[in-house]
Amino acid sequence: MTEQETGSTGGEDAGAGLDARLALDRGAFRLDAALRARPGEVVAVLGPNGSGKSTALRALAGLESLAAGRIVLGGEDITTMPAERRPVGMVFQDYLLFGHLDALDNVAFGPRCQGAGRAEARARAAELLERMGLAEYANARPGALSGGQAQRVALARALAVRPRLLLLDEPLAALDVHARASVRSELRRRLADLDCATVLVTHDPLDAMVLADRITVLEAGAVVQEGPPGEVAQHPRTAYVARLVGLNLYRGHARGTRVAVAGAAQGEHAEVSLSERREGEVFVAFPPRSVALYRERPDGTPRNLWRLRIDGVERFGDQVRVHLDGDFPLLADITPEALAELELGGGVEVWAGVKATEVRCYPA
């Protein structure tokens, strides 16, 4: 099968992809988010549970009505178009393959609904299954497929309708941990091959980083950050993203090389020192592994030093992650040996130090 058959348009003009503003109310919850995806681009909507990301996806598919906003796809306004007429393919979280049909007929379902004859639809389905490496499973019922295979059938089924927009709802959530890694990289290859716009929804930052060309972070129904994966990972703008990418993040006001962390008291302990000069509202971020802990106050070195209380300790890879609290919350990753030497325990007060050169600072 050639590439042109899966996507629709190859143009790079702004009107060709997805341009949507989605606004809808669900009781106390309100979703109001703008989403854009160019043809061939994979956009990940990343957000915690209840952030509205699945609702946004359902709205794009036509399974939810908007209260306001509009959805333009390939220059066509599809805001009020019923789901079955939208040029949109969707892969659901647990795939939702039809149990009474074999893999081939699952994939042929869409073309049949679009008016293709039985033989034609099956031929197209067979080609897609072959491309997914599932030719020998064409006659298998969904119950007989592994999670990864089922996902590929679901992807083939969604692509069989030649969508201009492909939607994936938590595409890896239904898989066990072992299958996830291989399926993730495989899915990345397949998505990269497509020339339709793709929007996927996930709560796993790794999925978003690996699969997407661009990430849109959704929190409580609103977009809080947007950008390429590297940019989002390097410069998180909310506590949620910072936690996902494993950074200590604070917002504050910079004056010279000192940043007063907002919300904390105007004392020495609420200040972060920088290695370069900055002015105005900024974010400061540093990784937990750059934090050193001491029982006694260390002498001399020009560094950030705070007196904090240990809140908890947990295993983190081959390190130990120490949760600290006091004037502000802070995570520190230290070695188990260091933990043993320091005889640290819950409730103990310690000194936490970070070199100024380890602290990233960027405008808020």
Partner: protein, 277 residues
Amino acid sequence: MTRASPPSEAAGGRLRVRAGRFPWLLVVPALIGLAFLVLPFAGLLARAPWATLGTRLLLPEVRGALWLSLTTATAATAVAVVLGVPLAWLLARAEFPGRRVARALVTVPLVIPPVVGGVALLLALGRRGILGRHLDEWFGLTLPFTPVAVVIAQVFVAMPFLVISVEGALRGADRRYEEAAATLGASRAVVFRRVTLPMVGPGVLAGAVLAWARALGEFGATITFAGNFPGRTQTMPLAIYLAMQESPESAIVLSLVLLGVSLLILVALRDRWVGAV
């Protein structure tokens, strides 16, 4: 098979985990319940004049009644499926004012005595009924005392079983499959036919079997609405009732014939259709 089985069988015999405490609390009421259902049947069997069973079966009236019962019950089931499945869909899926009332109305034929149902049918579809009057005036069509009336009476009492069964299945079905079909371009009618219906298939089948059984045993509404005329509207239950007036023995024979035939058909259907699923 033979190669693999000897070791596992040997192990299975000795090492099988023993069952826990015997669940008396469930088994005892279950057996009482079963006995309660089977005992009257045993009473019939004990009193049956087996010698005349064969000759009875060959009587043309008996064969006529049996044939009429089987054909009308099957026709009634078909009508109930054609009308009842969409009705169940409407009750389960559509949002409209008065839906709760509509759902309650569906169960009315279950609650009222079938004889009253038959009178109600006469008042609606009889020669002077609110609708039947016009059928007579415009088309010269009178329903009572015809096999069609038998089917109508049976549909009236049997369709609720189908509707309730299918509605339950629809409520239990995962609607997200229907959404998935919609994103693949399926219209609502196609979604119903190709996704919803296969999903609730077992429910439809169970409902159809219930409806068929109910239609086969239907007496009160039939005799009231369709009357009783051998060969035309006299179904087995009517023949049994009237035989009862003269000789209980022949009524027992007829009952056994009806029971035997219906069990045979249900078991055969079960093996053929339900077993395959």
